[in-house]
Symmetry: C2
């Protein structure tokens, strides 16, 4: 398989200069530093070393000078600005039933975002063909040629071996196991492609632009068709040894809650088999047919099928069965999260995914169960909140996964090559 | 409270030279590098920079030259050796019923180790008084004065706020909550003191000298009077936001296994209340009295009380009740670990603590439950093994926690100060 991840082989240990340049660039692109003085103070490097690297970045037009800033006593410093517009990133967020595609700049700012219904059940080729077409069309809206993309990031709803970008036996994605996603994009784009689990992508988006900004250790829990968690440790996505960390949907829950339900993984009593979107949809249809909810029965008669979102909607309308189901789902989620809070001791748990919009009763039930079952020290400073990002979280996260990789030591030479191409096109 | 942890305030951002010196020293003290050429190649620093730092370390007698090594083509390089004997570390490992005290060198090699019975129930003052006396006596055996200790590390069987070294409401340590352990040692020793949870200490020991050496992500699970886990991420102890990560003893287990058992934490169905040493001892006494095990009944008649270790011993002698109890305990542990393996995706789980010696049947039952309940990708390369370290693991780990801290950027000035004192004593 064509390995499209690392465009430049890092070879031997990186030189001192590379390490310094990457660390200075990281401070500039995240706005931690905006002057030579900031950079010298924060990095511990000498003013001469900093100036040398800044001059290089100015010459390559990775940064620009923006006139004098405020003085700290001496001469007013010239401000430095990272040129987010020097390149672009393609971001793809594939859900079980949705496809989001976006173009961002090199700061991860979403410039154009297109969302449509799609289904992973169609298999990889038609879905990826559509993603490639949408990327092309979004680029065209900006009059950008395909070679202006510096990288593509994609999230998929299943386990991925991050190193190779290959889905590994994803339960709700028949036909995708081992499918070479990076290779597919490589037919149309020359840039490196990074594929990750959708929940990691959402966690990265939350760290970049949501509640996770500046938080050391947090969990992002997606409650949708499936249930999964993204783990952030010291600001970075923790993927585990095989890249499948955070797969919490198949943790066994309390038998009293229905451990006799068989999950699609073959085990009994999995969290996802009781609290996942597919399980909830089945329960809703049974409740509608059994006369337990007039509102759900009416919706079923109207549409012929029900989803977890219908339960959330009817709960918000005061339907008793739906309200109780949202509450018991929150308790199941909270019961499992309580154990993970004891184990991982995060300072924040962000709840996202379709069911997170089920109003405050879901969040209240999750909190109740976590605070009841977790140790006091583990919940002393714990916040449990709903993600504020909505549909943008996935594509923003996919873009940031790409940016983390591009501006790393191993890829610096590739970035310089792209900057040189920018300069030669202008000339 | 006297804050004995950071002897030198790091103040502003560390200078470039400090960062380089600390990174070179890390390679020398862990034997990753043994020559100037190794250091230059591994660090990316110039030969001139490396030589300058090496000369400094030679001058301070932190390292020494040991004659020419093998040539790689040019002049045979002079080898460099980290002087582990330049200073010493005191290591204290307090268990629920045991006290281990040791002196190690600056490589963490245990020079003298003393183990005795003790009980945390006596409260902090008598236990710490004994630890201080033992440290003094071990130092005396080496003709070392107290000021030759560069640091003291201690593990205690309960949650600790690592930053301050204060135990936080440790359930099996009445009287220890908030007790200023570092301050107690400071009455007798001038060096910094680091206090951590005993399971973190064991995990650090396993990373330094056991199965965890070179393993990126692993769990150390202690099954003793209590049950807890130490988490190692990318080679470092992960302590979580409040320092209490890994507290897995109070995760709820399957209700079918006895969720009606009330735990000392106030909840029902906690792992520790069903599989911990105290719970097992109670079950053993009930079995002995109820005529379910002749061997346990004989032991109870002989000693008047039973422990979990008795179950392990009788299982190894073929007692049916004990064998079944070890197996069901392994299944309970494995059931909980299965969820944590899905979440954390480690490549290794090390089982330690008193019950780990219960023979292969415990390990087999743990493995069986984990492989049955965890996702295939998460167990693809997972090893579940018994710790090979025995009683040395705790003190070795405590010493390595100290060494990690001493040879960090914030404490370099303190280390240089100690080296200068060595030189002035010799002069």
């Amino acid at each position: 398989m064509r390995q499209a991840r690392t465009p430049v082989d890092p070879g031997s240990e990186p030189a001192e200069e590379t390490l310094h340049l990457v660390s200075l660039l990281a401070r500039l692109r995240t706005d931690q530093a905006s002057s030579r003085a900031d950079l010298a103070r924060q990095s511990g490097l000498s003013r001469a070393t900093v100036s040398q690297h800044v001059d290089f970045l100015l010459h390559k037009e990775m940064i620009t000078e923006t006139g004098p800033g405020e003085s700290r006593g001496g001469r007013r410093p010239r401000l430095l600005r990272f040129r987010g517009e020097a390149g672009y990133v393609g971001a793809v967020d594939l859900g079980a039933t949705s496809l989001d595609v976006a173009i961002t700049d090199l700061r991860g700012r979403v410039l154009r975002h297109h969302a449509e219904e799609a289904t992973v059940l169609r298999g990889p080729a038609p879905v990826l063909e559509r993603a490639v077409a949408l990327l092309g069309s979004l680029l065209a809206q900006f009059d950008l040629t395909r070679d202006r993309l510096w990288g593509i990031g994609m999230g998929v709803p299943g386990p991925v071996e991050y190193r190779t970008g290959l889905p590994v036996a994803p339960p709700i994605m028949p036909g995708w196991s081992g499918y070479p996603i990076p290779e597919y994009f490589a037919r149309s784009f020359a840039c490196p492609v990074f594929v990750d689990n959708d929940v990691n992508i959402l966690a990265r988006g939350e760290a970049a632009a949501g509640l996770g900004a500046g938080v050391d250790n947090f969990l992002f829990v997606k409650v949708g068709t499936g249930i999964g968690a993204g783990i952030v440790v010291h600001g970075h996505i923790y993927r585990g040894s095989q890249g499948c960390a955070g797969d919490i949907g198949h943790i066994a829950v309390d038998a009293a809650s229905g451990a006799n339900v068989i999950c699609r993984c073959g085990n009994v009593g999995c969290l996802e088999a009781l609290a996942g979107g597919a399980a909830l949809a089945q329960l809703a249809e049974a409740a509608a047919r059994g006369g337990q909810s007039a509102l759900l029965a009416a919706r079923l008669a109207e549409r012929g099928t029900l989803t977890a979102a219908d339960i959330a909607e009817m709960a918000n309308k005061g339907d008793a069965w739906s309200t109780e189901r949202i509450r018991s789902t929150g308790h199941l989620l909270g019961h499992t999260l309580a154990g993970l809070v004891n184990f991982f001791n995060p300072s924040l748990v962000v709840i996202g995914g379709g069911l997170a919009n089920a109003g405050d009763s879901l969040l209240a039930a999750i909190r109740e169960a976590v605070y009841r079952r977790s140790l006091p020290l583990a919940t002393r400073a714990l916040r449990i909140e709903r993600s504020p990002l909505g549909g943008h979280g996935g594509v923003a996260g996919a873009a940031h996964v790409v940016l983390d990789e591009l501006f790393s030591v191993g890829n610096l030479a590739y970035v310089v090559q792209l900057l040189d191409r920018n300069l030669s096109v202008q000339a």
